[in-house]
């Protein structure tokens, strides 16, 4: 796991829009568009309010209720992926 518990924050300069539960994020500098599925979309929206991994996991658990241990792994994986795509930054 590459995630080192450093908080991540949503890059607020990236235009995005939710349509029918899916999130479209535009990354102009990479000339790329990203399509987030529902769970990644939830993380993305939570990231607009908090950058704390713990907060994200708690809020995701409120939605999915599968336990914080499993969710921590999944959220970290998702954040790593978003980081590689330049959607979130460390802070």
């Amino acid at each position: 796991m590459q995630f080192n518990n450093t908080d991540r924050f949503q890059r607020c300069d990236l235009p995005w829009q939710e349509i029918e539960g899916r999130i479209l994020i535009l990354s102009p500098e990479r000339q790329k568009a990203h399509d987030l599925n529902r769970s990644a979309g939830h993380i993305w929206k939570i990231l607009s309010e908090t950058k704390s991994l713990e907060d994200i996991v708690i809020q995701m658990n409120d939605i999915y209720g599968v336990g914080t241990k499993q969710l921590t792994t999944d959220v970290c994986r998702c954040l790593d992926s978003m980081g590689r795509e330049g959607l979130v930054a460390r802070g």
Partner: protein, 361 residues
Amino acid sequence: MEVLNRFRNLATNKAIPLQASLELTYRCNERCTHCYIDKFWDDPSKVLSKDDWFTILDKLRGAGSLYLILMGGEAMLNPYFWDILEYASQIGFHASMITNGLKIQTVEVAEQLKRKGLKVATVSLYSMDPNIHDSMTTISGSHKKTLRAIELLRQAGIEVGVNCLLTERNIEGYFEVVDWCIANNIQCKEDTNITAKFNGDKAPTFLRATSDQLINYYRERARRWPNSRPTPQEEQFNDYACNIAKGKCAVNPYGDLLGCIEIRKPLGSLLHHDFETLWQGLEAKKWRSIKLKDIKGLEGHAVLNSSHDGCSHFCEHCLGMALHESGDPLVATQESLRLANIKKQIFLEGQDNKGNSSGHS
């Protein structure tokens, strides 16, 4: 592209205006011979304040718009252009603009555009020959300034596209524009549709490229990029005629919501109504509900094959173009049929070539 197309289709199906075009002004510092605008001035009693524009931006964003296209006239002539651009970026729009570039002549202006959040600038460039470009804009020296603007925008790190409307005057030099764009890594788009003015004046339509010119253009394009050869659109008669009042919308300089930039009859004022009231109103629904089967005159040479349920055709019928030209949005115009016929000819030439090469092998 796949992701974007998926969202565009979703937006169209759900009538979410993912793309919004904002006509910031009818004023312009060029007088292009082909332009569809009939009056290059704004009615002083109707022009919007900065706060009015902010209200409209909020409503569009709330309605689901993500792509914002600032246009005119020349968008940069709106006195609140910079505030509008900055605010649009702040509230999460992907902001782009269509411009002639004449107001972008210094590094400072280009960098300010970048700083205020402009993501893409589409610049109108008609020829690599200054005489031809300037004769189309009717502004001496405009070619030089437009090229300068492109250079400055790129230096500022703004994605630049070139848009080239093809007329009888410039079509034969179009591939010089393409070659220049390729050499400079700039996306180039052409447009063969020249529409009558908003008031029905057909003067611009007399500037259309001749059929021979268009055939040569399509042949050269197919020679360079075989995949760009026109292909028929497979459509069902129950398919919607176009994207009007579905995946895109527009706003005129006075704050009126339009279902499409081409249909000038407003759905209503965005300053006095909320977006949903107008978007779900009778006028919007009327335009939105038009289907392929409602379009008259598609039969015959524009169609390749036809069945009970649908047809494959080459006609890109535009409701607005038809309305301006013939007064009836539901009748295919002679021009759209002419273009369809030319595309069909080029398509069939490609089929013949395939047949000949497979015959030889």
